[in-house]
Amino acid sequence: MLGFARTLRHAGVPASPDRVEAMLVALGSLDVLEPGAVYWAGRLTLCAGPDDLDRYDAAFAVYFSGERPRAPRTVGKPEVRLAASAPLEQGTGDGDDETDAPDLAVQASADEVLRHRDVAELTPAEREHLRRLFALLAPATPMRPARRRRPDTRGTIHPARTVRRALRSGGEVTRLMHHRRRTRPRRVVLLVDVSGSMAPYADALLRFAHAAVRARPSSTDVFTIGTRLTRVTREMRLRDPDRALAASGSAIPDWSGGTRLGEVLKAFLDRWGQRGTARGAVVVVCSDGWERGGADLLGEQMVRLRRLAHAVVWVNPHKGRSGYEPLTGGMQAALPSVDHFVSGHSMAAFEELTGVIQRA
């Protein structure tokens, strides 16, 4: 059974020791000679979500048909190269010497220039510098009124607290207690396009997403879109931005591939959005709107998204270029359903974007 658990972990099912223990207990309560007993005992205790089920079935078939467990699947995978982490490995020492030396004024003005530079045109050293600026970015979250109320000096009368207080003074109501509605963070959903045409910006956008997740881990969700939809929220929760990006990099199967925005958006709305993830949320789509399929489906799905979301923000890095016109078919189809159309090509643009999200 432990060998089976190991096979499962290789396949990506989080079969932690306590789950394995639960499986052994479950096996003990079932008739092991029954054909399905082992299968179900394992599936019910070791799996934690629908995504695990296919992996479980595959691992089960392999292990119990006598095949040797295969090596972890990371082997054959193309190594994902993230723009900002590449120079980090070679020249960390040099970079540190250089940036530590200059006095603060020079550095501040360098920051200022860098803030407005297009991230696609930066040198590796500048990217490395920008990486530090990202660490300082603290996106504020939009708020919404909550159902719950909180004691306050003003607001509507709180009967329970008023009476509770009266009990203390022998049942005499001496003071009216009040409460007011709280506010709660509104959910923010980021859909980051990682297709080939967005490759120069994907790294910066994912860093932005990481900063957003770090600011509000429980109310932010990140998906990557390209030829398929991948949820990377869990990977983004890692504290260290480089580790978080590397983890999401290995979770994204369609890095730098083509774009099928319409289909992927539909998949998002079917599997997540309509069930509640996009409901009342601020949905930020980061893409150049370069659609390989027909634009009709994208238009339809954008209409649907807008009906679900509180606000739809579209971030297009090309918008920052002078003379940019949203002429691509995808952009044309999407724009009518977009509340805020912003650029996302430089640090300054990202700072502006945080403001747009907060006020959305």
């Binding site: 639960a22 179900w40 019910l44 629908p50 069930r275 993830t277």
Partner: protein, 304 residues
């Protein structure tokens, strides 16, 4: 719901020899589980572990809890989760109004000489309003249904974790309530958001799917005995086809039952394409879906 009444089998789960026997008992209530679900429910009973059910809306997650309550003869307590749900709405609350009244009554009867005693009497059990979690523990063994847990906040999940790990609730003024037998807990989720791993780890996890054709026909026949075999089979076949059409909301068992009932009410004995088109509102809940299905050749979908 008009379910056939069944004699509850032994309240003690040890009376059940295995998943098969539980499946048979559940079938007695009109709930037809497949092997996986029967095993999951059996293990939840025997291992005293909460059962975490996920799946599309309308596949029978909530109905399972009710069927299990019927089979085990236990009372069922249901906690419907929503955003902003607080501990006082899930556990207990003091009935301040009645406490105040009690105080005034005591005052009017000039029984106020012993203040300490009076104060203690204010926190009597009769002034405690038990909410579902406390009720389920007090009335153990029971079935506790925590419905749509994905709708509650993160903080509430953390709080649930505490209650579900040791099945005790401490009330500062009264003492600790502990369930002699842990209740059979069924948590359901529609997956509107990811429920925390820590909570899932305490549970058995089962993903419910739409039933296969034969099972769906059997369910329709069982729950709607007035519907003809022919109609049940055709409704099940059409619903299965609808589920492959990539609709915004694929119909669940609840919808196929509604549809069969609607057709039966209109006097249909088999799936008449005209009546089917008129009753589509019972299965499809989006305008886009209805249009899509209407635009497809009717003959291909219904009847035949």
């Amino acid at each position: 719901m008009s379910e056939p009444t069944v004699a509850p089998i032994a309240a003690e789960p040890a009376g059940l020899a295995g998943p098969d026997e539980l499946a048979a008992a559940l079938e007695g209530t009109g709930y037809l589980p497949d092997e996986g679900l029967a095993t999951a429910a059996y293990l939840a009973l025997v291992m005293h572990r909460p059962l975490f059910l996920e799946g599309e809306a309308g596949v029978g997650k909530t109905a399972l809890a009710h069927a299990l309550a019927q089979v085990t003869g236990r009372p069922i307590y249901r906690l419907q989760c929503y955003e902003g749900l607080e501990a006082s709405q899930a556990l207990y609350d003091w009935d301040f109004g009645r406490q105040l009244l009690h105080l005034r009554a005591a005052e009017a009867a000039h029984a106020t000489e012993d203040t300490e005693k009076l104060e203690a009497s204010l926190y009597d059990r009769r002034f405690l309003l038990a909410r579902p979690l406390l009720q389920a523990l007090e009335d153990s063994p029971s079935v506790l249904l925590i419905d749509e847990v994905d709708r509650a906040d993160d903080e509430f999940e953390a709080f649930l974790l505490e209650v579900l790990s040791d099945f005790t609730i401490s009330i500062p003024e009264l003492g600790t309530v502990r369930a002699q037998t842990p209740p059979l807990v069924v948590l359901t989720s529609n997956r509107t958001r990811e429920v925390h791993d820590a909570l899932k780890r305490r549970c058995l996890y089962h993903w419910l799917q739409h039933p296969e054709f034969d099972r769906e026909v059997a369910i329709l026949r069982r729950r709607l005995p007035q519907v003809t075999e022919q109609l049940a089979r055709e409704v099940a076949r059409a619903t299965a086809k609808l589920r492959t059409l990539d609709l915004l909301k694929p119909p669940g068992i609840a919808e196929s039952m509604d549809w069969a009932t609607a057709l039966h009410t209109l006097g249909a004995r088999d799936l008449d394409p005209d009546l089917a088109a008129r009753t589509l509102g019972a299965v499809l809940k989006y305008r886009e879906d209805t249009e899509r299905v209407r635009s497809l050749a009717r003959g291909a979908l219904f009847g035949g």
